[in-house]
Each structure stands twice: as structure tokens, then as C-alpha cells.
Symmetry: D2
């Protein structure tokens, strides 16, 4: 099988740049896709750090001028992994140059931006790095919902709880200001929960929310709490915060339906909690499925049952699935469409938090 | 030590009547109080069932006329364990007769009622059976908060999740109608969470809430969700539902503060989760304290560490503490004052759910 | 239903005396048996302490002369809760007086003793307080084994791990000397595991064991480790120790069979772990059954699902079952027969530990 | 920094070959070592499968003649990942050719073999792939033991429990015959436990063991149970089996000492259980350290706290540490010396199982 080369330009040299670099390096080892990813150009602002990172991860070139790189004809894929406020400009420029566009989440800092971005990539393969859809346990949850193992949903509950807001030794960075991130916990953390909620439980009709800032002088939300009415008749609550002391990275959800319950927590990402309410009552109990059994999502890609995978594999699997869809000419999800929908939900949340009361969530079409 | 006899009349022959009967039988075995509880009269509507229950639990007499019993001079204590809508009438009658009045939770079905009840018992020893304050793990949480082990509180999160709403084989009862219970999940379940929240985290300034009914034709809330702004600057979320499939009896809370985190779940009632954020980062982790160690609340009353106690002991301990306070002439908490405050919170929640938006919680004084 | 009075003489005023007293007080509240237990005489050595305990628990009389009491015609039941080395003398005296005889575990300190005790009670109702058979989760395990949910057993693994041996502040007591207890961890802790193993997994063919004493100058085993070949073809390991720092009271077992796995830990005594290996592989996982559901053992006796019971209930249930068997004229298990078999296993273990190598376990008949 | 090229020949095309290939690919991304690993030649028996695997993982050449490859002057490193019975021949040939020799575990199928292998690599850099020493949680356990957080050790308990022996659909392979593997559970699974026990708890003085075969006609042990007396005065038990239904891959240990307790389970490999017995009793409890915090082993290599790593990272870290030691001219552990010691323990175990009773463990020097 001859594999087509796809030459990538990655803009971003932080933690996410590293996670994406790893995905480019690893995807071919675990996914049988007809592409060879060439790590062509690494773009950023700090030339010395770029050189070091390029040497470590095998990027062929570095550049501090992403505009020039994005227009180079030898580049097939532009991957945007910079602070949120810069996503729109970069992604739209890449789209104008006709590139395949991959963008970190949240897609944008406003729905006006995300709408423009979505329009810009029309007809081009595109992806938002909502990597948690590719956690094997979450992919299994999706499948089990489709198999009607949950039944009519009553409750959807999501948390994304971190604690670093409480660390006084931590210096401010782009994530703690409106100028860099556009928003706080809602954009950084809750967008993950929103993407999963929309994927697993369908559209939201309306939300009622509050936002709170604990740190003096900060202009973004340290915590966001939301109540939701979903189109399927279920109700939900979402919580995202950087002040949940004791929680390293609790990206969790629970879904209660008439036929069963599903639960997940990223701190135990190899397991999916399942309660089967259709069994006889005396043997009903929550079980924690250790993901990776034959037949589970991605079981054939990585190692074997009991030999656990971790955080980085969600990026590899996202990329693997994207390339698979690309090779089949299929539309990939989550793309900018889904990223825009998440942004519409964020905006309804922010509106509700500002004025109190229920706010309708626009559906993006 | 000569022990004073206290003759009890218990009104109620259901599950709670049984739990209270057990408390009267057991309190003297585990608490060194200068009273001997005499289980004098058991009142209810069903004479045959009363006779059977009285034989089992050693009630000296039975009666289907609680009004007559409440006024008998040989009765010292009246214990109200009937459907919520009847609490006020009974408790007020008992108070008028000058009795010690104990009442099941929720104290009332409206704050107008609870205000009248509170006035009626002024000067009389009184108690609301918010038994969960006496779970040893929760009493330990209270102590640890007072020891400043949590620090400035950021988040308070409570859930009371049951699943029986989803059981189609279950017949309606007084708990599923406004006529019997006054409300649904909010009165039955969330009042427990509210009492604990007020006790552990202090007064609530305002709430924003939603209520939802899943079952067709039911006139009460099957689920209630609340956001809270507490007077201490923390924010909170409360959830109570009878449709959380997979949850037998998850009465849980988590408190995140600048110095640590506490967590509890009634399904694992012998443990208190604690995360100490003042330790060096590399050894920080949640631990589950097995309650009952020397120095823990109620460790001297029941068995020994690792020999666990359960649900019924919360009633025994509530009664034991009440009698201890009585013997010392101290005011007991939670009394009708606290029960009234919970009712004020319930009413703010119901108001918010009805009209949307934030509603101030009245403080009851 | 007129209930026959059974007048009890309890010999023993320690922790176990208290647990038994509670059982006599509570059994009639939770078990519908045609007997009324009269707590007639409490015997012990310390008259002042006896008086206090009798007042607390409602014993009608106290005595420091158990020999006289045991022969009194107004006594129906003699309950032996004294140090192990005294069991034989008391139980045999009670049997000679024709009493119903209940005895704490371990039944004896040698198989010679236990054989004599077994002979002495022939024809008399008798019980050994191996209370853990009545943990609802363990009773459920027994039922599930009988339902063939485990299949052919491969492995049986039991631990009884405590830590107090490591506490230098703890004074020696009768449990830490051969003169008082006959043995150390093997008699005190492992006899529980042995009784459960024989009940749940059947007879043992042979054992290979080691015993170890960590404390200087102590003449009993602080820890005992055993390998077992069971008659059913499975193999097992047993461990009992007082030096398992970190373990408050881990009385645990796991059984692995061709069709499934069961697991239990007394520190989480309301749950039974179950893994169903007959399900499709992709949904197989251990589940923790919260015991108390309709249909579970003792579900009808105590409270309801999610309202947990604890340590003391195992004594109440043992007594309740004993009285039920008595009323039906049935032989109760575990009786002195079973207590003797446990003692035979202990002796094989001690022999193996002394000389190394495999030792056949005598079957007692 | 110019990095020296190390050209690798890997012999083995199975699951382990894949895990090693990944390590060669990834080590430079996470470890700052002055070597560049060149995946030069992949050797095996099945040319077609070799070609496919080489294409996936980027091996430059393939060969079905490992003898020729091992002697090629352009090869620096020979990595042995073939069935156990072939380890000695390959490793000794590689050593004779003066190569750096890496070998999968168990090092050999007899101590006679492992002794010869150890002699053969004298003076050459060498490693045995006991990868679990590099699980961050286990490396942290080692450090905490060295910091005296466990104190005088009383008990060491290890399990390696798998269940696939019970799967009747599974065809026999080299691991299920003496001809391919030399032994069963003891060599495949318990050698991991032995290496960790020797590393964490020091030399073993003597062992008493049993071995059992459940499958008819199989000539190796399906399960091995061992009791141990360690040189440090502690006692231990080890268990390895392929018939622990319900256990996917439970490679677990617990260490109880006078100052604390440590516990680990590979199915939850991102956490280390720790109980600190030096704290006040009322706040003592087991905690599960989520490994990856600043200061933890390998925290600087992979992602960040809460972004978990998995199975494959243990191979990457083993290789990273080996290369680090190589660059500093240090002796690496575990090398063939350690592999030989494990083999001596295996042999004592097998001897004891064959004849019953205690057998002295030779120390290998």
C-alpha cells in the first residue's frame, strides 16, 4: 500500500503542540491509514524553543512567520494550537489557502467568530481537537447509547473540575485573561463537556447559568455552573471550575436513563461505569468496564485488555479517525460545525449568567 | 444514677415509625443519658397493624386517636412521623399540650406552617429528625471544617439521588402527591441536603432553581436542581431526584476549599473523603477516613473501628444527643428553628423554579 | 402468637458480651420468632463492671459464680463469651446441665477440647458465634455459589488482616498470650476465614502453613499463612495477621471459578463483588452488589436497600436464624460440629507450620 | 547536542516486539538522551509478517536469519523478544559479538542458563525488560521505601492474576508448553513479582511453594503460590495464576511496615496506595496518589498530572533510563545479574513445589 504524504504545519509550541506532535508521530503505528504524516513546519514565536522542540519531535523546519507558512504550496495540513483568541485568524487564513484545517478547542471565543470559521472551511476537511470523544471508554458510551442501553434519558450530569486556580504560586498566563482566552473555565473546560453532551445526549433547548470569579482582579470566569433542558426531554447540569481543590482533572459525566446508567471520569480513563437497569433487581449494580476488550472501540489499535492506554492516545485516535474519514471521503466529526455549536451553547450560557434566567440555545442552522 | 422516665407517644406506623421505635429501644444501650425512654403509646390509623408493630417493638398501648393521646398528662414526648402535610397540626397540638416535640423532616410543607410550628414550640425542647447530621462521618466533617481544615470555601456540591421514580411497578403513595407530601424530591430529599449545607457551610444568600416532573400526571417535582450563592462567598449546586437510575440512595456532598476538600456519600456511610491541600503536592491525595477511630464522633458510643454502624445508628445518635442536651438544659440543634430555615430555602427554590432567575433566601429572623 | 420465654445466662462482660447483649435485645424487633429472650443473668469476674453493664443492657441479675448460674433450673440458654481457654469448661458444664449452649469462636484451643465439647452438646441445640456467615453479602455469596454462578472453583483466597499488633501503646491482654487465647492470629482471625471457607468452598484435603511472631517474647503467632488443597479440586491461600498496617479489619475473600468471581471485604460489608464470566466479554466487569435489595438475604429483616446495616446485625441475624431453626426443630449451622471442624483445620495448620510441608486435614467424622 | 546513533536489531515479531518498537520510536520524544535509536533490522520467522510490521514501525530491514544479523558490525544493540527457551542462545550469541544486549523476561528457563547468560554479558551493557520497575507509581514506591516511609517491613504480598487460562476458545501457544516457555505462570507472571519484590524488599532467604495445573494434559504450572522469608525479617506471599477469573491483569503488591503501607495494582497503574501510620490515628487512611505530580518519577518526561500514561510508557522509560545510564557509564538495573537472581528464586520455588517444605534461595554470588 503506497501511502500519500500529508505535509503538516503546526502552529503552537506549548503543551498542545507537543500532544499533536506525538499524534503525528504515532498515528501510523496504530492506525492503518493510507497517509504518511510529514511533520514539515513547526511555527511559533520563540525561535530557540522552536528549534529544540523541532529536534525532539522531528519537525523538518521551524518558522516564526505562520502567515508565510500557511500559504506555502507544499503544506497540506494546518494545525492551529495557539491561544484561543488567535484561532479564528489562523484557521481562516489556512482555509483561504485551501488547506486541511485542524484546530484546538474551543474553536473560537465568540459565535460570530466560529460562524465565520465554519463558513471559511466549507468544502475543506476540518477537525476540532475535541479529543475526549476518542477516549475508548467514551466512544464505548456512545455506542451503548446507540444500542439503547440507557433508554429514555432523565438526567445528564457533567463536571470538569480542576484545582490549579487555588495555587498561589502559579503565574498568570494567557488562559487566565480575557485577552488571551476569551473566557475562563467555560471555554477551557466546559467546552469539552458541551461537545460530549451534544454528542451523547443531543441538542440543548435552553440553559440557565451562573459564572463566578474567585480571584481578585481577574476578568474571566473561574467557575461556570449550568442547568440544561435538552431536546430529548432530559434535564442536565454542567459544572466547570478551576477551584475544585482535590480534583486534578475530573472530566466526568453521568447519564441516567430508564434502562441504565453510564458514568465516566477522566482520572480513571480506562473504565466506563455501567449500570444495567434491565437486569433482575437483585443482581443490579454499577460495574466498571475495563475498556480494551475485544469488540471495544480502539481495542484493535493499541495494546490489549489490561494494558492501559492514556491521555496521548486520544489525540492519536482523533487523528487516526480523521485520516480514515478523509480516505473514504467522509465528513469527520467533530469538525468546525460541531465547534460552532459548542460556541453557541457557550454564548447562551454567558448570556444567562449575565442576566439570570433561561436562555434559548441557538442550533446553528 | 437514677434515670428519669420519659414517656413517649409516637404518631406514625410506617418506615420512620420503625426507625424511631428502634432509637427509643437502643438509645440507653449506647448513650449514657439520665433518662429512660418508655415507649408508651403508638398512634396510627390501622389498628391491626398498630397492634402488631406495638408487639414487635414493645409499645405499651396503641391508639387511633392521636388528639386524645397528645393531651394525656402521662405523656412527656410526642414524636411526629406521619405524612408531611400533617406535621403542623400534630406538632402544634403537642406543643399546646406542653410536650417535648420531635418531628420528622421536612418540618412542614410551607414556611408559613413552619413559622407557626416554630412559634408553638418556643420554650419547649424540640427536635427535627434530620438524622444525617449524626452520621459519624458527617459529624467528623463538621468538626474538620471547624478546625479550618477546608479553609475558605469555594464550592459546595450536594446530591440526593434515588431511582425509584423509574420503577413502573411501584404504586403511588403519599410521597408522590402534593396532597400527602406538599412537594416531591425537594421536600423529601433535598431538605436533607439543605439542612447539611446550612449546618456545614452557613447561610444561603440566594438561589436559582429548576424543577421537573418526569411522570405524567404527577403534581410534584420528581427532580429539583439548584444553584446557590452562600453568605461565605462560596457557590454551590444541589440536586435531588427520584430518577437517577443506578443510585440506590446517594446522599452525597463535596466541599472544596483553599486548604482541602471533604466528601461524603451515604452509600458508603462509614467513610469520609478528605483531601489535605496543605501537604506537599507530591503526597496529596484523597483519603477515605474509616470513621470510628478513637477521637472520632460517636466512636465511644457504638462498636469499635472497623466494626461498622449503619443507618439506624443515626437515629439513635440523634436521640442520644437530644437527650444529652435536654439533661444539660441546652438548646438542641436541629430544632424547629433549623427546620424552619430549611423550609425558607425550599420556598426560595420553588419560587425561583416557578419564575426563573435568582431569588433571595430569607433568613428566618 | 404467644412467645415462649427463653432465659439467658451470658458469661462474659467484654466487647463480645456487649455484642451478644445487643443481639438478645434486638432479635425480636427484626426476626419473627416464637421466643422472647429474657436477659436473665450476666456473669463475670468484676462485680462493679457487671452491675454497670447489667444496668445498661437490662440484665436482671449479675453473678460472679458462673458454675452456680449454669446449673440453675430457670436458665434455658448459656452463652459463653469468655477467653478461649475457658470455653471448654463452661460449655461442657452448661451441656451437662442440659442447656442450650451458645459459644463464641474459636470453639476451643485444641481439637481434643472441641471434640469433647461436640460430644457434650449432642442432642442439645447449640451454636458457635461465627457471626460472619450472617453478613448479608456473605449469605448472598453462599446462595450465588449454590446457584452455580461461580462454576468450578479454581482459587479461593482469604485474608483477615488487622494492624493493632504494630501499636506499641497497646497493653498485652488475654488475646496476646497462649495462656489466654491458646493461639494468636490463627485462632482469633483465621478461624473466621476457615469457617467461611469450609462453608463456601467445602472440605479441605491438606494444608501447608507458616506462622510467625514479630513481637519479642510473645508465645503465639502474630501471623499465619496457609496454602490449601480443597476437596473440590480448587487451591487456596489464607492469611491472618495483626501486623498488616493500614488494615483496620480486612476480613476478605475472593473466589474465582469457571463461571464467575465473588469477592467480599468486611470493611465494605454492605457490598458483594461479583464478576459474571458468562456474559459477553465486552460487558464483563466486576460489580459491587449493594446488599439489601428485595430478594437478598435478610432484606426483609432490617431496613431497606441503601439504608445500610453493620457489624451488630450479624449477631442479631445469627441469633434470629438460630431461634428460627430451634422453633422448627432443625439442626442449626454453624454448631459445635462446625466449630470442631474449624479446630481440626487449625491443628493441621499448626502442625504444618511446626514441621514444614503438607499436612492432611482431618474431617471430623 | 549531537546524538550518537545506536543501530538496533530486534528479534521477535509478537506483542513484545511491538512494545519494544514503540519504545525505540518514542524514547527520544520523552527522554533527553545523547543517542538516536535507529530501528535497523527486524528479525523473525515469518517474512510476510515481518515486512508488514517493519513498514508500520519503520524498521529499515527485515531478516529471517538472526544469527547473521547478530554478527553484523553495523548493529550496536541486539534486543531479544522471542519465546523464553530461545533467550539464552540469542543473548549469548549477541554477547559474543560484543553487542549491547537487551532481553525480555524471564531471562532464561533455568538458573544454569541465566548464569551462563550473565557471564556472557560481563562487561557489556545489558538489560532485562522488567518494565514494571518503570511504572511511575512503582518507582515512587521504591523512593518512598528508601525515604523510610514504610519502616520495618512485616508483610510483603504480591499477586499476578490473569484469567485467560479459563478461556476455552483460546488456542495453545508457546506460553502454554514447557517446550516454548520453560514454565507457566511462574516464569511468565511471577518473575515480574519476584523482580519487584527483590528490588523493593530485598533478598529472599527461603521459600515454600505449591504449583498446580488446572488444564488437562498441560505440562506447566497454571498457578504458583509461594510463601517467603525475606532477609529483612519480613514474611511474604506471592501468587501467580492464569485462572483468576475476573482479573484482566492484576499485577499487584502490598507492603505493610511499622510506619506505613504501600499498595499497587497494574489495572490502576496511575495510582499508588499509601497509608501513613505515623499520622495521628484519627486522620489515618489509605490514600491513592495520582502519580505525575511535580517531583514524582517520570513527571518531567511525559504529560502532566491528571493526563495519564499507560502500559507502553513503562517500556519507553526503561529504555530511557538504560540509555541514560549508558551515557554516564553506569551499570543499569535490572540487568542480567538481576534476571539471574529472579531465576534462582524461580528454581527454589519449583524445587519446593516438587518436594514440599522450605527451600533456601541461592543469592547468585
Amino acid at each position: 500500500m503506497a501511502r500519500k504524504k500529508l505535509r503538516v504545519a503546526l502552529v503552537g509550541q506549548g503543551f498542545m503542540g507537543r500532544a499533536h506532535s506525538n499524534a503525528y508521530r504515532q498515528v501510523g503505528h496504530f492506525f492503518d491509514v493510507p497517509y504518511e504524516m510529514e511533520t514539515a513546519v513547526l511555527c511559533g514565536r520563540d525561535a530557540a524553543a522552536l528549534a529544540k522542540m523541532a529536534a525532539t519531535w522531528g519537525w523538518q523546519e521551524t518558522s516564526t512567520d505562520w502567515r508565510a507558512v500557511v500559504e506555502r504550496p507544499d503544506i497540506d495540513v494546518v494545525d492551529v494550537a495557539v491561544p484561543n483568541v488567535l484561532h479564528a485568524e489562523l484557521a481562516i487564513a489556512a482555509a483561504k489557502a485551501g488547506k486541511i484545517v485542524l484546530c484546538e478547542k474551543p474553536l473560537a471565543v465568540s459565535s460570530e467568530e466560529s460562524a465565520r470559521m465554519r463558513s471559511a472551511v466549507a468544502g475543506l476537511p476540518n477537525m476540532v481537537w475535541f479529543n475526549y470523544r476518542r477516549v475508548p471508554a467514551i466512544a464505548l458510551a456512545k455506542r451503548m447509547i446507540e444500542e439503547n442501553r440507557v433508554g429514555r434519558v432523565f438526567h445528564y450530569r457533567a463536571q470538569y473540575l480542576q484545582e490549579w486556580g487555588n495555587d498561589p504560586t502559579r503565574p498568570p498566563n494567557w488562559k487566565t485573561s480575557r485577552a488571551g482566552a476569551g473566557s475562563g473555565a467555560v471555554g477551557d473546560l466546559m467546552t469539552h463537556s458541551l461537545d460530549l453532551a451534544l454528542w451523547l445526549n443531543g441538542p440543548m433547548r435552553e440553559v440557565m447559568a451562573m459564572q463566578h470569579t474567585f480571584a481578585q482582579g481577574r476578568d474571566i470566569d473561574d467557575a461556570t455552573l449550568v442547568m440544561v433542558r435538552f431536546a430529548n426531554g432530559s434535564i442536565g447540569s454542567l459544572e466547570a471550575t478551576r477551584y475544585a481543590v482535590g480534583c486534578r482533572n475530573r472530566n466526568a459525566f453521568e447519564i441516567h436513563g430508564g434502562r441504565g446508567m453510564l458514568g465516566f471520569d477522566l482520572e480513571d480513563l480506562t473504565r466506563l461505569t455501567w449500570f444495567d437497569a434491565t437486569e433482575p433487581r437483585d443482581i443490579q449494580a454499577a460495574r466498571k468496564l475495563l475498556v480494551g476488550a475485544v469488540g471495544h472501540p480502539y481495542a484493535g489499535n493499541f495494546w490489549k485488555l489490561g494494558h492501559v492506554t492514556g491521555y496521548e492516545h486520544t489525540f492519536i485516535a482523533a487523528l487516526g479517525d480523521f485520516l480514515g474519514a478523509l480516505s473514504r471521503g467522509e465528513r469527520f466529526e467533530p469538525g468546525f460545525d460541531q465547534g460552532h455549536r459548542v460556541q453557541l451553547a457557550v454564548e447562551a450560557i454567558q448570556t444567562s449568567a449575565a442576566r439570570g434566567g433561561w436562555v434559548t440555545v441557538e442550533q446553528g442552522e
